[in-house]
């Protein structure tokens, strides 16, 4: 397994402005995330877990400090550059799946490929493979309303991996699922990490979910309990 740094955070400060009140989430955070890791982030509600994922995924920007993706700084990119960065490097998985209700499973998985110049055949191949990985090949023509929660989350995972991103960011991916279904989804994530060497960062409240990761970090008062991650 490679031990290259996928993400490096330097002197990160993040303040949310809420009305007239400034809310300090991170004061001076430094850390690395290595390629191939599967990290679970836990912590109290409001501690900044989602804020952290948003900054890593190019949805939000730090107030100050630097974020590097491999060698490239991403915190100072323009809106359009960040959009491209997300399309090329990041797969997102949400608590409530965020599928397009008017599109079939197949067409939902196809969405990220519309941002690429792949040929039609390559796209078809990639969509089929992604659906196979999450074990939903027989449901490709179903609409989200015809699928169970676990199946919808598997479609969402297929969508997140179809364009082969470097990192998967998951915010409470099992928060809306029962235990058994949650374990299935976590199994898929573990498989993606172990077999396909996908780097995964997963926010969760569920200690049992955290056990599927290689490393569990606790976030509290703007600090992780561990700074040098291996």
């Amino acid at each position: 397994m490679t031990t290259e740094n996928l993400i490096t955070i330097k002197n990160l400060k993040k303040t949310h402005i809420k009305g007239k009140q400034a809310l300090n989430i991170f004061h001076d955070l430094n850390m690395h995330i290595q390629t191939g890791n599967f990290i679970a982030i836990m912590g109290p509600s409001g501690s900044g877990k989602t804020t952290m994922l948003n900054m890593l995924g190019g949805i939000d920007k730090p107030t100050s400090g630097e974020i590097y993706f491999k060698e490239d700084r991403i915190d100072n990119l323009s809106e359009n550059e960040l959009t491209q960065f997300r399309a090329m490097h990041v797969g997102f998985i949400f608590q409530f799946y965020n599928l397009m209700p008017m599109l079939t499973a197949y067409n939902n998985v196809e969405l990220p490929l519309l941002l690429t110049d792949l040929s039609k055949e390559d796209k078809i191949k990639k969509i089929k493979t992604a659906l196979e990985i999450v074990n939903l090949s027989d449901r490709e023509s179903h609409y989200p309303r015809e699928l169970s929660g676990g199946q919808m989350q598997r479609v969402a995972i297929a969508r997140a991996i179809v364009s082969n991103p470097d990192i998967l960011l998951c915010d409470e991916p099992t928060g809306d699922l029962d235990r058994e279904t949650a374990n299935e989804i976590l199994g898929v994530l573990k498989l993606l990490n172990e077999e396909l060497n996908k780097t995964i960062i997963m926010v969760t409240h569920d200690p049992e979910a955290a056990r599927y990761s290689k490393l569990t970090l606790h976030l509290d008062k703007g600090e992780f309990n561990q700074k040098e991650l291996s």
Binding site: T83, R86, A87, M88, F92, M102, L103, L114, T116
Partner: protein, 394 residues
Amino acid sequence: MGHLSQQTLAIININIRSIKNRLGLSISTIFSVALVVGVLLCFLAMSKGFEKTLEGSGSEDVAVILRSGSMSELNSVITLEQARIIESGPGIRQWQGKPMISKESYIVVDAIKKSSNTPANIPLRGIDKMGEIIRENISIVKGKMFTPGTNEIVVGQALLNNFKGFGLNSQVKLGNATWEVVGIFSSPGTVFESELWADINVVQSFFKRSGIFQTIRVKMKKPADVKKLDEYSKNDPRLKLDTKSEKDFYLEQANASSDLIFYLGWPLSILMSIGSLAGAINTMYNSVVSRTREIITLRVIGFNATATFFGTIIESLFLTSIGATIGVSCAYLLFDGLTTSTLSGNFTQVVFSFKMTFKLFIKAIYLSLGIGIVGGLMPALRAARMPLVKINSF
């Protein structure tokens, strides 16, 4: 990077597939646009048809002479003495040794409109043989021409169709006299079809206007001679008359009246467009707000803000073009060729047909596209600027 058009197409697909979730609003937008387009087309077609009828009425080589300053035949007075002086003017064509001059009287009488059952003014024109000869595209389609010296009249085809009681052989009371309809004449697409004709001498005596005419028509050798005749008459202090070609005469009237229709039509359409615009904006805001989650998700996945913007504008254009298509089709089916009458510059009724043309359709389509773009603009900007950090609040 993926092409913008590919992204935009995907967003349009998503937008249009979700229209059924806001069907009521979308349909009301479609219909308000259809209504605006329909009303605008109706006015424009009316204006066009009216113009066509008046334009078609005039010949270039016929001079129309009215008392100086008279805008219409109705309030013009020309004496027999003045008419005699005109007869020796330059450039006048001869017919069997006689100058082709038609001294005409023009009187307003009452008739009942078939469509509304209300009285309206129609013109009775007194002419002699020369008046008939000068108007080349006149033909008797039923019966015969009136006999000079009798109380016979002939009726224009359009007038017959739109007013009560002018059938062949019927007796009609005009002024204090009773007349007999002996013929129907046709003169396609001209104002003459909206007139009654009788013998000039009989009209003059029944209406107590002996020795007085309203208008003189003179057939010239060539169109340019109209100007010569005008100069001739301007140089004679006894003649305070205006001379212009018959074509110009009707064109001026057409402009005055079709301007009225036109200037009433556009403001009304614009007013209605504002209403329909408000509807479109509301619908599109609703569309954008109801898809907030989808739009932000697509943006987070890596779809461009520009694609979201155009996706919304195009959905708006999609709705308004359906509306425009309905409006245009209805206007075409209901109004094209529909015949009606209205006051001409003479304050008598002119019968004309609505005329739909391709150019008018294009104008209506432009209007609807304008509504679509302006209506979609603010909502589209909103779609393009949605805050991505909201992604986790659904």
